[in-house]
């Protein structure tokens, strides 16, 4: 993998020096995005997001749980990601590794800080019982840019989540009491920095050949989750520019989950 990284870095920067990407895209151009909503019946919400060769499935389960002691007046939101070994040759079976945990936490922060879901509404008995929302991200194909695909899948799944009826503090999953309220469309833009260039929506080769990646999630007029992932550096000025681009590109992405 290490040699592959170096090799990809050389290839991608070589192509970039001629102003090209291997698949012929512009630097700030997304691959085709396809989203399939409500694809599972057992999960309360679900969606599949495919960007180029990347495919991420999001499943939403709802349960009744005890609230966290320091947040007794709020429902629970929990996000997990599984790099299932069928998703890429280098994914291995076993407990989630740092990369999977990072993906889950970046998505979690985006959904949580945007307040797209009002967790205060998910209290059943204050201090005792609350509704827990579990987002699980299933990476079926790693073709680069898992962050944007995962957040798109999560948002599309949340927006289609059926709320089961709550009877005597238990869920009756056979009956629905409407849909989960999602007040904002949260989307993220992932950039791969290679040399001095930033590539939006990196492919797998561009991602592993990059010096660093920058992920910026926006909701309306606010940033709501950010991550620099990788050892390379970025300047203050560059970060400012990426933030501007993220707000601009977010409009395009919102259409995909609308």
């Amino acid at each position: 993998m290490e040699v592959q990284k170096e090799l990809k870095h050389d290839v991608v920067s070589n192509l970039l020096s001629q102003g090209k990407r291997a698949d012929g895209r512009q630097k700030l151009q997304y691959r085709d995005i396809v989203i399939k909503k409500d694809v599972l019946e057992n999960a309360e919400g679900s969606a599949l997001c495919s960007i180029g060769k990347t495919q991420v499935l999001a499943g939403i389960k709802l349960d009744v749980a005890t609230p966290y002691a320091d947040r007794a007046d709020e429902g629970i939101l929990s996000t997990g990601a599984e790099f299932t070994p069928l998703g890429a040759p280098h994914f291995e079976p076993g407990p989630p590794r740092a990369e999977a945990i990072e993906l889950a936490r970046v998505v979690d922060r985006a959904v949580r800080s945007s307040e797209a879901i009002d967790l205060k509404k998910n209290v059943i008995t204050p201090g005792e019982k609350v509704l827990a929302i579990y987002i699980d991200l299933w990476v079926l194909d790693h073709g680069g840019n898992l962050f944007d695909a995962a957040l798109l899948a999560s948002m599309a799944a949340l927006k289609g989540t059926r709320m089961p009826k709550i009877e005597d503090g238990k869920l009756n999953r056979k009956e629905s009491s409407g849909m989960l309220e999602v007040s904002k469309d949260v989307v993220s833009c992932t950039f791969a920095k290679i040399g001095k260039d930033f590539l939006l929506d990196p492919s797998f080769s561009e991602e592993i050949g990059s010096d660093t990646m920058v992920i910026l999630a926006t909701a309306g007029e606010h940033l709501c989750s950010g991550q620099k992932s990788g050892k390379g550096e970025i300047s203050q000025k560059e970060l400012g520019e990426l933030i501007d681009i993220s707000f601009e590109k977010a409009k395009e992405l919102r259409r995909a989950i609308a």
Partner: protein, 240 residues
């Protein structure tokens, strides 16, 4: 008519000696998803790379050792290029083309005649589709190279070297088409049409003798059971 057969499907009502089949003494069955041609031969549609002597391969240096270089091929085992088999020196990450010197029964691959390929990248295709990508006398690959203005080297192992000059995205697109339609007839003509349209000039298949050496016969010519490895000693294994 040619048809697609799946593993375990009978391809002959009597025991027969064909590549990619086995017999239970009564009938002959396919072992791999393949096209059964009118000439009663099986052309695999998918499958791993089986290294054979004299194959031209494309790989990259993934380790430098005392006695030589380890070259990744996308096969389970990396190939080994002994220092005594080459006059050049290589660096980690160099993309190379080479000829397979020998393959032993546990899959150790020795290569020679290695040459560095510069200013380009590796794309992958299913190894069983390599003969189709090259075409008769290089007709397919020379067309793609002509249209895209890229230099292209196809390794038997399914690694394809494409230079950064030229329209690499078009080369990729054309290779994807071959990958998806390798088993369909008339592909060369369709490719010529596709490339001509994309380039706005006429692209024709022009068979060439010496663009690339591909001494290996296509897999359908191999006979005598799956692959044509030398028979190995049985270690009390059940025969199938």
């Amino acid at each position: 008519m040619a048809r697609i057969v799946v593993p375990g499907e009978a391809v002959s009502e009597k025991p027969a000696k064909m590549a990619y089949t086995y017999s239970d003494g009564k009938k002959t069955y396919a072992t791999i998803i393949s096209m059964l041609t009118d000439e009663n031969k099986l052309i695999p549609l998918q499958g791993p790379y089986e290294p054979l002597k004299d194959d031209i391969i494309v790989g990259y240096v993934n380790d430098v050792r005392f006695a030589g270089y380890s070259i990744a091929l996308g096969a389970p085992n990396s190939a080994f290029l002994a220092s005594r088999n080459t006059r050049s020196t290589f660096e980690l990450g160099n993309i190379v083309m080479a000829r397979i010197e020998s393959v032993d029964e546990v899959g150790t691959i020795d290569i020679s005649e290695a040459k560095v390929l510069e200013n380009g990248r590796i794309e992958r295709i299913s190894p069983v589709k390599v003969p189709r990508l090259i075409g008769k006398k290089n007709s397919m690959i020379s067309m793609i190279a002509d249209a895209s203005q890229c230099k292209i080297v196809v390794g038997r192992n399914g690694f394809i070297f494409i230079t950064n000059d030229g329209d690499g995205a078009l080369a990729n697109e054309a290779i994807d088409i071959v990958e998806a339609q390798a088993h369909t007839p008339g592909l060369t003509d369709r490719m010529a049409d596709f490339l001509s349209k994309k380039c706005g000039r006429e692209i024709k298949p022009r068979p060439q003798e010496n663009m690339m050496e591909m001494p290996r016969s296509p897999p359908q010519r191999r006979e005598g059971g799956y692959g044509s490895r030398p028979p190995r000693r049985e270690h009390g294994r059940r025969k199938y």
